[in-house]
């Protein structure tokens, strides 16, 4: 595709990677899968190493990173949204935060430069997992009837308005929530990747053509890289905090 004399690759070309191993089987591995495996391994290694060292009371190195991550999730996610009885979801929320963070941050790591979450598979799987968890938690803590009543007929609404409110709540709680959760993560990563690719191509083209103006898109590329680091962390945080909000909403219904 040529846009303004730039040789811009088609969008599918930026996100489809050729299979590396096990071609044609359901276990086919390409770059995206490798990034996910690396992100899983990184999360496991981080917490494995942090849990292993017991010599010093003062956390150093990896243990310090892991403990500040756990503290961050506990103080600014769980305590703010669920409350003290949400601490049993800490392992799930913390590992999910770090997994999403590690698979997002490959967007700006040199020579990888592809956010694995810009493919829909894992975001939608995580979102459906969250859907199952908050529904199970709701049914467990309020019973089937109570959970449906509290989520479909929110208290404090005039009786007549239930004609409008109930269908909206039905669609938004049980259908739209997982999809918006997945689309938020996926679309942010796609947009970030496209932005970085655009400025990289602009820089390369101008560099071939005439050296000096290439500095402008290159500065923009650096600024956008910094911005994408922020977006990677923020999207992992938002995915985790929305999960906590949904779980909190089904544990403690409004009265």
């Amino acid at each position: 595709m040529r846009i303004l004399a730039l040789e811009f690759p088609p969008v599918s070309h930026l996100f489809d990677w050729p299979t590396i191993w096990f071609d044609g089987t359901p276990l086919a591995v390409n770059k995206t899968v490798l990034i996910y495996l690396a992100a899983t391994a990184a999360t496991m290694v981080l917490f494995g190493l942090a849990g292993r060292t017991r010599e010093s009371l003062v956390p150093v190195g990896v243990q310090h990173v892991a403990e500040s991550g756990v503290n961050f999730i506990e103080n600014s996610v769980v305590m703010q949204t669920i409350g003290p009885d949400g601490k049993r979801f800490m392992p799930f929320l913390t590992s999910m935060f770090f997994f999403i963070l590690f698979s997002n941050i490959t967007e700006v790591i040199p020579f990888i430069q592809f956010p694995a979450n810009s493919r829909m598979a894992i975001p939608i799987t995580l979102a459906l997992l969250v859907w199952v968890i908050y529904n199970v938690v709701g049914v467990k803590s309020q019973g089937v009837f109570g959970y449906l009543k509290n989520s479909l007929f929110p208290p404090g609404v005039p009786k007549v308005l239930y004609v409008i409110v109930t269908p909206i709540e039905l669609v938004s709680t049980f259908v739209v929530r997982p999809f918006s959760l997945a689309i938020r993560l996926w679309a942010n990563m796609v947009a970030g990747h496209l932005l970085l690719v655009t400025f990289a191509i602009l820089t390369a083209t101008l560099w071939d053509f005439f050296y000096v103006p290439a500095a402008l898109p290159f500065l923009m590329l650096i600024a956008m890289t910094a911005f994408e680091i922020l977006v990677s962390v923020l999207q992992a945080f938002i995915f985790t905090i929305l999960t906590a909000v949904y779980i909190g909403g089904s544990m403690h219904p409004e009265h």
Partner: protein, 85 residues
């Protein structure tokens, strides 16, 4: 105008319409969330300035508000990608 339309090949014409629709769709979808995120962040900042001690709670809630508002713009972005020829 009609004769001009008749001269254009139908396929090209449809491609052009699709491109216009995709661009306009994303642009229009970004208007509302832009105003919305501005409102959310502006009010969060004034809340933080009034009560700096509650800044942590306000910041968490602000990110939640941004996330919900931003979803609409992102749906516009998804439609843009789907419509792209």
């Amino acid at each position: 105008m009609l004769s001009l339309l008749a001269q254009t090949a139908t396929g090209e014409f449809l491609e052009g319409l699709k491109a216009i629709g995709a661009g306009l769709g994303y642009g229009l979808a970004a208007v509302g969330p832009g105003v919305g995120i501005g409102l959310v962040v502006g009010n969060a900042i004034s809340a933080m300035a009034r009560q700096p001690e509650s800044a942590g709670m306000v910041r968490t809630t602000m990110f939640l508000g941004i996330a919900f508002t931003e979803a609409l713009a992102l749906i516009g972005f998804v439609v843009f990608i789907l419509l792209l020829p």
